[in-house]
Each structure stands twice: as structure tokens, then as C-alpha cells.
């Protein structure tokens, strides 16, 4: 027996569609307007003349540099996370003893720490370490704050590997190193892709750490560029919104082609 459609929830979902679609429409349509048509025709009407000038202007305003910085931050964060989290999760799932369960509990507690709450001492630590206003100073804390969720997701995935497989590997006399590479990593691919999705999204969209820990044009990331753009040229709405579109374009392309994997990744993550 199949469940029949739920009309009430269906109606609600249509309302939600409008709520999500409406600002996206205003966003997109505004980027193809000139500044003067935005203020004279208003944001809702379809513009008489479409222009790509806003996008060109963004690039001459340094968007290319911001984009490159964000890309560097994102790739580095994902690399660090992929380097340290799988061995940690492997140890949490397979090692014995009190130490490792304490370690796991520390990471679970880490889920609770909001970045906002440690931003003052983070500024202190990064300044003292001589990393202020350098991309590495953004990369390290961003990666650190990805660790708890990534660890949780990956240990979940690794727990699903059955004991028989470990025993079979042990029969072959495999070392932990070989077990890790030939069994654990291949079989936790799903969890690994969730971890990549989550940490990449965090790094790409990160705002607070760049806001506090950088100040120069040369270390500006996209989100900070949007914020500065708004405070400095608040009236150029089409210019600002086209920068927003550019900032989300890479993620959106990935979303179009890998929606299922992305949503599943986000779901596995389950939190902020």
C-alpha cells in the first residue's frame, strides 16, 4: 500500500518554493541590470536591456584575487582534514583502551564550541604565531573547527565495516597500515565524500575567521569581499549581487551535477 500525497504539506512546500525562489529571482535578474535601471525600474520587473557589465566590473574590482584566495583556503582545509581525520577515525573505531575513548569524547565536546566564542583568543594565538593577515592563519583554524563533525561522520562510516573483514585481513597478516589503506579507506568512501563536502563548504563559505584574521586586499576571500563591497559601495546593488552569484557559482555547478551526493553529505553531517 503506497502512501497517498499529503496535500497540506504539498501546499506548504509550494509556499516554501516561492520563499526560496523569490529572492533568487531578484538576485539573478538584478545582476543583468545597469545600476540606473535597478533604481528606476525597481528590482522586480524584467529589465529592458540585459547587460553582463556587472560581472566584468567584479573582476576588475579584484574578484579574481578573492576567488583564488578562497580556492587556496578551501583546497588546503580539505587537504588537512583528509590528512588527519581518517587516521583518527580509524584509531577511534579500532584502537583499544581508555586513552582513545577520552580522545573521542574531546572531539565530541568540540562539537559544542562555536567559532564565535573563541574568536578573541584565536586572534591572540594567530597574532602571536605571526600568522595574522596570512592565508595559513585562516586555513588552520577553519580546518580545526571542521574536525569534530568530520570525525563524527567518518567514525560512523567506519563502524559499519564488519569485524569479519578485519579478521580476514588479520589472517593474511596485514599491518594496521595495510588494513587502513586496503580495507578502511576504500570501504568508508561515502563517509569520506561527506567529509569533503562539509569541509569544502565550510571553508568556501567561511566568514568569521577571515573577517578577524586578515585585513589586506591580497588575503581577502570572497565572503569578506562581499562584506567589504557592501559597506563601501552599498549603492551598487547590481554589482554586489553579481559578486554574490559569482561566489556561489562553483558550489552551484557541483550541486547541479552531484545533488544527491551533496545533500547526502550535508545530511550525514547533520549540524552546522
Amino acid at each position: 500500500m503506497r502512501r497517498r500525497p499529503n496535500y497540506l504539506a504539498g501546499l506548504g512546500s509550494l509556499v516554501w518554493l516561492v520563499l526560496v525562489g523569490f529572492p533568487l529571482y531578484v538576485l539573478l535578474i538584478s545582476t543583468f541590470r545597469t545600476r540606473s535601471s535597478y533604481s528606476s525600474e525597481g528590482p522586480l520587473s524584467f529589465p529592458e536591456h540585459l547587460t553582463l557589465q556587472n560581472y566584468f566590473d567584479d573582476f576588475s574590482n579584484g574578484f579574481g584575487q578573492d576567488f583564488l584566495n578562497t580556492l587556496i583556503v578551501t583546497v588546503s582545509v580539505v587537504a588537512i582534514v583528509l590528512l588527519v581525520v581518517p587516521p583518527l577515525a580509524y584509531a577511534i573505531v579500532r584502537a583499544r583502551g581508555r586513552t582513545i575513548s577520552t580522545v573521542f569524547r574531546v572531539f565530541l565536546l568540540g562539537l559544542a564550541i562555536p567559532a564565535q566564542a573563541v574568536i578573541v583568543p584565536m586572534f591572540y594565538v594567530i597574532s602571536k604565531a605571526g600568522l595574522y593577515d596570512r592565508l595559513i592563519g585562516v586555513i588552520l583554524p577553519t580546518a580545526a573547527f571542521c574536525l569534530p563533525v568530520c570525525t563524527l561522520v567518518l567514525t560512523g562510516a567506519m563502524r559499519d565495516i564488519t569485524n569479519e573483514l578485519y579478521e580476514a585481513m588479520a589472517m593474511d597478516g596485514a599491518s594496521p597500515w595495510r588494513v587502513f589503506w586496503q580495507l578502511v579507506v576504500p570501504l568508508s568512501r561515502g563517509g569520506l565524500s561527506s567529509v569533503v563536502v562539509f569541509s569544502a563548504l565550510q571553508a568556501w563559505n567561511g566568514f568569521l575567521f577571515p573577517l578577524i584574521l586578515t585585513q589586506s586586499e591580497s588575503t581577502k576571500v570572497i565572503t569578506l569581499g562581499l562584506y567589504n563591497f557592501q559597506t563601501e559601495h552599498g549603492v551598487d546593488v547590481p554589482g554586489l549581487l553579481s559578486a554574490v552569484v559569482l561566489s556561489m557559482l562553483p558550489i552551484f555547478i557541483v550541486y547541479l551535477f552531484a545533488r544527491r551526493a551533496l545533500v547526502q553529505g550535508l545530511m550525514g553531517v547533520g549540524g552546522k
Binding site: 562555536p114 578573541v120 583568543p121 591572540y124 557592501q230 549581487l241 545533500v263 550535508l266
Partner: protein, 311 residues
Amino acid sequence: MSALSSGSASVRRVRAGRRTGVGVTRPGIVWAVPATVFFLLFALLPLVLVAVLSFTSWDGVGSPAFNGLDNWTKLLHDPVMTQSIWLTLVLTAAGVLVQTPVSILLGVWAAGHQRNRAVLSAVFFVPLLLSATAISVVWRAVLDPNFGVPSQLPWLFGDGNLMGSRSGAIAVLTFVGMWQWTPMHALLYQGGARAIPQVLYQAAAIDGAGKVRQFLHITLPQLRNTMITSVILMLVGGLTTFDTVLILTQGGPGTDTTNSAYYMYQQAFKSFDFGSGSAIALVLVVVATLISLAVVRLSGYDRMRSTSEGL
């Protein structure tokens, strides 16, 4: 005696993670060291430092100097601090009350078998992909009283200056928070709703229960665990709302939307009073930690994983 010693030797060999022949190979604690050291340095050390810094005065340039309880007594008598705590509570409560019903409805709907579901849900989850910065920037442009949508739809928005009043600004922050976070929570509820056994609905249908009664008496009670997890996530998120406040209202009008996270930022990075900023931050840490201790207790993370199939 010899049997005993050889036994303990093999135990030692298993613990060391070497080949044992019969036992199972296990990794040593060394595997956890890089991540743990990294995490201690860049997440837990700052957490300890925030407590230390809250007893110092520091302008961000020189060295912090201990000043005892000065920051704390100052905050205790600071009307903005008291107001910011109230506002944080109001924003958090409003967030939970608005987001929960919407995300339950959406999640339950998305768990069903509608034909247009795939197409629609492609649009539904777009807010998940956007940065809080982008979301705030877009809504600020959309809601701008002079050039935004309100000027074009006076029948809906009145004089249009939504963020010019305390209640309007709080409503905007709550709305944008809902826009931003509902898809995430809808996903949780979708997973939760998928996991409800169909038998329950079949039995209820045979007993003559309608859709609404089925929803109230089966779906909602069965979603209880998901609801706990979701509400706790909303609470922690609500306590630490920052980006949207910074970009949408700058804490205004006046200090009407200055919540604790924003006040902390203002004290530290605008007034260069890093000691007071740390004290506010410490309050946030303690509250958030208490809440997420509850997350781990009441948990639901394992359940969330196991219900993620079939998206």
C-alpha cells in the same frame, strides 16, 4: 608460569598492533596523535585562553594585563549586556518556534512519494549552499526600503522600512534565519519520517484515522528524537547568530538587535576591549557547552546516519 607470561606477551603484541596470527590487527594510539594535537592547538587552547583573557585588560596590541574581576563587574552593570542576553534568548526562541513547524512540514512532505518532489527539492535546498554572508547580502538588498522590493509592494510592506524598528528588525532576523536553516532541519526530519514504519499508518488507516490524525498521532510522536536533535542544533545556532546581525542590522536600530555574539565582536574588535569581549564569549561558551553536552547525551547522531538512505 610460562603459559601466563606467554599469554601476556601476546596481549602486549595485540596492543602494539603487530601481527598476531590469531588476533585482530589494531592501530595504536599514534594514529590519533596528529588530529588531536592539531585540534588541541587551534580549538581547545583558544577555549582555555578565552577564560584567561576574560580576567585581563588587553587592547589587542600590547600584552594582556590581569585586572581581576573588572570585566565581569563592568558587564554586570552594563545595560547593553543585559539587553543583549535578552535579545539572544528572544532570537533563539523565535528561531526554534518558527523553524520547527516549517521544517517538520517540509521534511515530512519530502519523505513522501510525490512525483514532482525531485524537481522541487532541487530548489528547496539552495539556501544550504549559500554562505551566511551571501544570504544576508541578498536579503538586505531585497528588503531595502528605498530600492528593494518593499518600495514596489506597498500593500504588503507598509512604509517598507522593516529594519527601522526593533520588532521589524527582530522579525527580519528571524525570517532570514528560517530561510537559511530550514532546509537543514527539513533534511533531518525527512530522514526521521522515512524511518517511521509504514505498518503504523496502515493500521491507523484501517481504524479509520484521517491524514491529520495520522500526522498528529503517528508522525509527530515518532519524530520525537529527531525533534530533540534538531531543536538543540537550533538552540546552539541561535545563541551564536552573528553574520546575519552584522550584515543585516549592524545591531541596530540603536542597540535593538545587538545580541551577545555581536556585542562580543563589537567590544573586542571595534572598541578594542578584548577583555570584556572574552568575558561575553565565555558566557556563550558555557551556555553552548551545556547545550551540546545535552546533544551528546540525548544524541541521535547515530540514528541520523542510519536514516540517510534513499534520498
